[in-house]
């Protein structure tokens, strides 16, 4: 009996030991790890679903919508509910590579209860198929997300831009901290420039869910706040007409409202289809785009620089008038070229222009006349005037990183080339060849300044934005008038190189230019396209009271007058026909018809 009592007493000690063990475990779970488990229990029952905010709509300057918001289906997985043994089956169901799923699921720092987007832009049939098999894949959910539709497709795509997922550096940027993980943000063009305004504030639905992901109750709902609409300065008629006129050719166009700096149109071709990005671009498509030899992702209007060719003669002419080295009546005889220091500097017209004044020299783009001006001015004077027109520095249009171009002078050559400047180089610079290099947008700002009386504005994409002056050209109004008259002659007078821009509808002023790719003998039109010259045309209209100024650049277009001028004409007409000017003139012509 005694022995048995002792045994039972021993059991009591075991009971107390077990009790202490359980208490220690409770201490560990509830006190030491309590915070962790409390947090886990919170995410367990709450599911936070972000409701994307409808993005602000982009309108053109006349209120025509350029984009549309649409919704699309995507499929996501809630990792905490997913059986990872079924990854291969899931890949088969969604028809995506298994590595892609693994990569997404293995990302660090993911909450097990936040949906991870696996595939976007599902068709209705895909949705129906996935829905029917969904019970086999716990945690698989189908979500609706907002997408962007670009009504005009690739028309104006460099200006309007596209949406994309935030890149790694944007992820860390506090400016994007309220952007939901799967949301798209503006990555190009106006979509990027005005992203903060367009984005809006996403809403949130906090719901209670059970362990099977069934919604039990709506706890909180914050409706999304729609992003603000934006009216761009862009004129879609101008843009569309000009892009059609470009056809298959590569190049750029920048159209500016001269008195404000508003961008009326901007083309860089070849361009891309923004709809490719709207539903999430695949890696392969992106590589194809960026490695395309035609470089569709390069914004040629700001990121390509070329010699301006004869369009530069406008600057040389103004410099010469301002510096008093010539008067409008100063005449020079052109015999098809001059010889200097053992070199021959030819005029584009081999047979020569004969004796020409400034007006004829601009109209017919006589090179010899401007060699003479260059000689009289010297490179540093040319540099001063070119700089005052904004060449050699950024225009300040922030749509992409822009190139600055080159305006050479003696100092530049000493620093860069460690050589002294030769007069022959001044000759080349005076006609826009040689070292001088410009971007199409710089040329648009330049011609815009000629049109508006010498004022430089920073280009803007917003309609009715307060103009931001960025410089003043050193030119007296009367000298500008002389040049403007000559530019009108380029288009409208017999023998003018810009005859192809002549319009029945409006008086256009312009200047052609040809940027040499390689020095060629013989007609450039017979050469292989990649050796053909680039074509320039800068223009503004109407001549009396300019409302639009633009630069056109056609890569390997050959002669400026032939390739670029018709595009400029089409753009100008496209814009003015729908503007106040167009309506007034419509009335005039209607009246004259009824009379």
């Amino acid at each position: 009996m005694k022995k048995e009592s002792e045994r039972i007493l021993r059991i009591s000690y075991i009971v107390i030991a077990a009790f202490l063990l359980l208490i220690m475990r409770l201490w560990q779970l509830q006190i030491l790890q309590g915070n962790k488990y409390r947090e886990l229990s919170e995410v367990n029952r709450l599911r936070i679903i972000t409701i994307p905010a409808p993005r602000g709509i982009l309108f053109d300057r006349n209120g025509i919508p350029l984009v549309k918001n649409s919704s699309y289906y995507c499929v996501s997985i809630i990792y905490g509910e997913f059986n990872s043994g079924k990854t291969d089956l899931l890949a088969k169901l969604l028809n995506i590579p298994i590595e892609e799923i693994r990569e997404k699921l293995n990302k660090e720092g993911l909450s097990p209860f936040t949906p991870i987007r696996l595939k976007q832009g599902l068709t209705f049939n895909e949705v129906a198929y996935i829905e029917s098999r969904r019970s086999d894949f716990p945690g698989l959910i189908i979500e609706v997300d907002a997408s962007r539709e670009y009504i005009y497709g690739s028309i104006g795509s460099h200006l309007i831009g596209y949406l994309g997922k935030p890149n790694p550096s944007q992820f860390k940027d506090p400016a994007f901290k309220d952007v939901p993980p799967d949301a798209f943000i503006g990555q190009w063009g106006a979509e990027m420039l005005f992203d903060k305004t367009l984005r809006g504030t996403p809403g949130e639905r906090v719901i209670e869910v059970d362990s099977l992901g069934r919604e039990l109750r709506l706890l909180k709902e914050n409706p999304p706040v729609k992003g603000e609409d934006i009216r761009l300065s862009l004129d879609i008629n101008l843009q569309k007409g000009a892009e059609e006129a470009f056809g298959e050719r590569a190049g750029a166009l920048v159209a500016i409202k001269p008195d404000t700096g508003e961008i009326l149109g901007l083309i860089s071709r070849p361009s891309f289809d923004p709809d490719l990005f709207a539903k999430g671009i695949s890696y392969k498509e992106w590589i194809d785009l960026t490695q395309d030899k035609k470089r569709p992702m390069l914004n040629r209007a700001l990121q390509s620089q070329y010699p301006p060719g004869s369009t530069f003669k406008i600057i040389t002419a103004i410099a010469a008038l301002e510096e008093g080295v010539i008067t409008p009546e100063t005449k020079v005889e052109c015999r098809g070229g001059i010889n200097y220091g053992g070199w021959h500097f030819g005029c584009w017209r081999r047979e020569g222009h004969g004796v020409v004044s400034l007006h004829r020299a601009l109209v017919e783009s006589c090179d010899v006349y401007f060699y003479e001006l260059g000689k009289r001015l010297g490179i540093d004077k040319i540099y001063d005037y070119a700089s005052s027109f904004g060449l050699g520095k950024e225009t300040g249009f922030q749509i992409v990183t822009e190139r600055r171009g080159i305006v050479p002078n003696t100092k530049w050559k000493e620093e860069r080339r460690k050589q002294k400047w030769y007069l022959g180089e001044t000759f080349n610079t005076a006609i826009g060849q040689g070292y001088v290099a410009v971007t199409p947008i710089q040329m648009a700002v330049m011609i815009s300044a000629v049109a508006n009386g010498g004022n430089l504005f920073r280009p803007t994409l917003l309609k009715d934005a307060t103009p931001i002056p960025s410089g003043k050209v050193k030119a007296k109004p009367e000298n500008l008038e002389i040049v403007k008259r000559a530019l009108s002659g380029v288009v409208n007078e017999p023998g003018g190189t810009g005859w192809a821009a002549k319009s029945e509808f409006v008086s256009i002023c312009g200047k052609t230019g040809t940027a040499q790719v390689v020095a060629m003998k013989g007609g450039s039109q017979y050469q292989a396209e990649r050796f053909r010259d680039h074509a320039w045309f800068v223009a503004f209209a109407p001549a009396e009271k300019p409302e639009v100024a633009l630069s056109v650049f056609v890569e390997h277009g050959g002669h400026g007058g032939g390739a670029a001028a018709p595009i400029a004409k089409r753009a100008i007409e496209g814009y003015l026909k729908n503007s106040e000017f167009g309506k007034q003139n419509q009335n005039v012509s209607n009246r004259s018809q009824t009379d």
Binding site: I8, I11, V15, L40, S41, E81, P112
Partner: protein, 373 residues
């Protein structure tokens, strides 16, 4: 046979009784919280049913105290035979419930014979041990094992009710050890046990159902498959841990009613309680169980005779095993074996049979000063 006199009332074990009633009441309010409906208009009756079973159980408990337990010993063979017949009936007729044949329906009432069988088994084993010589001879040991343990064990395993089956073995081993074995036999048994352990393990493993296997695997590696079987363990730990020191407050628990925790009102009831009442409440509840068990052991020590001693010891060890295994499982210290927490888990038959067992405990204690009739 049924005598209620003043001494009986005077010696009645009020401590055991009130501790048990408090635990059952805590159980009922926890069942209410665990099964409270989320949508309005839908009501859950689990707690009401449990309350009815409590009333029934308390009546049965008093009935159990009212007669001298020695009578149970004298009729133990009859009771045991009845128990085996019931188990065989379940085996043949039993309807399938929760993937296991445990239930027997008589008219509108369904009950689990195995719940009552445990009690009958303890009575039988205790009585047989009390009339045998101490220490046990090898012959007696094997006779006990084959006639009292082996047959019901096989029947229980076949149901399959692994939990109850293992508890019968455990109670057998502890009671025989308490009775006392020859040192030689003890050493021999330990050696045989150690040698056969790997074989037994593999035989047991082969005999396990798939869900039983996965429970074991999940216990060994709970993070391995967070959505599968390891889910139960993880969710249980989250539920308990999220209670922190003071708990989330009664009816503020979220794990149970939101269906994150499976079996929340049966096997995982302690987790729901721990979530709402925190470390403080859990400490209090576990202390109640420990008081009950220590009191039971004390009853065994002070019992009037060997039968009472083994009876009290067997019942107390059963409670102890259920308690430790269930709480250990809830706290992620043991594999999920699917055994309920006595007095708290929802389940009428279990509550009734446990209250009957408490009745027996009180019976033994109450009559500790009485002489043989």
């Amino acid at each position: 046979m049924f005598r209620i006199d003043r001494r009986l009332i005077k010696n009645f074990d009020w401590i055991t009784f009130s501790v048990v009633i408090v635990i059952v009441l805590i159980g009922i309010i926890t069942i209410y919280s665990a099964t409270r409906p989320l949508e309005e208009g839908v009501s859950s009756r689990f707690y009401l049913k449990q309350a009815l079973w409590l009333i029934l159980g308390v009546l049965a408990l008093f009935m159990m105290v009212s007669f001298d337990y020695i009578w149970l010993g004298r009729y133990s063979i009859h009771l045991f035979s009845l128990g085996i017949i019931l188990l065989i009936t379940v085996f043949i007729l039993g309807r399938v419930g929760m993937g296991a044949q445990r239930w027997l329906s008589i008219g509108p009432i369904s009950f689990q014979p195995s719940e009552f069988f445990k009690l009958i088994y303890i009575i039988m084993l205790s009585y047989q041990l009390s009339i045998m010589n101490s220490p046990l001879s090898t012959i007696s040991l094997f006779r006990l094992f084959f006639f009292i343990v082996f047959i019901p064990f096989i029947l229980l395993i076949k149901q399959p009710d692994l939990g109850t089956g293992l508890i019968t073995i455990l109670i057998f081993l502890s009671l025989t050890l308490a009775k006392g074995l020859h040192r030689k036999i003890t050493v021999l048994l330990v050696i045989i046990g150690l040698i056969s352990l790997p074989f037994l393990g593999s035989i047991l493993w082969e005999g396990l159902r798939d869900y039983q296997k996965s429970r074991l695997i999940a216990f060994l590696e709970p993070g391995g498959d967070p959505t599968g079987i390891g889910y139960h363990i993880n969710q249980s730990k989250i539920t308990v841990g999220s209670g922190k020191f003071f708990g989330k407050g009664y009816l503020n628990g979220t794990q149970g009613p939101f269906r994150f925790l499976p079996e929340k009102h049966t096997d995982f009831i302690f987790a729901v309680f721990a979530e709402e009442w925190g470390f403080i409440g859990s400490f209090f509840l576990l202390s109640l169980y420990v008081v009950l068990i220590l009191r039971g052991l004390n009853t065994a020590r002070n019992a009037r005779d060997d039968f009472g001693k083994f009876l009290a010891l067997g019942i107390t060890l059963m409670f102890l095993t259920y308690f430790v295994v269930n709480v250990g499982m809830t706290l992620g210290m043991m594999p999920v074996v699917g055994i309920p927490l006595p007095f708290m888990s929802y389940g009428g038959t279990a509550l009734l049979s446990n209250l009957l067992a408490v009745g027996l405990l009180i019976n033994v204690r109450t009559r500790r000063f009485e002489l043989f009739h």
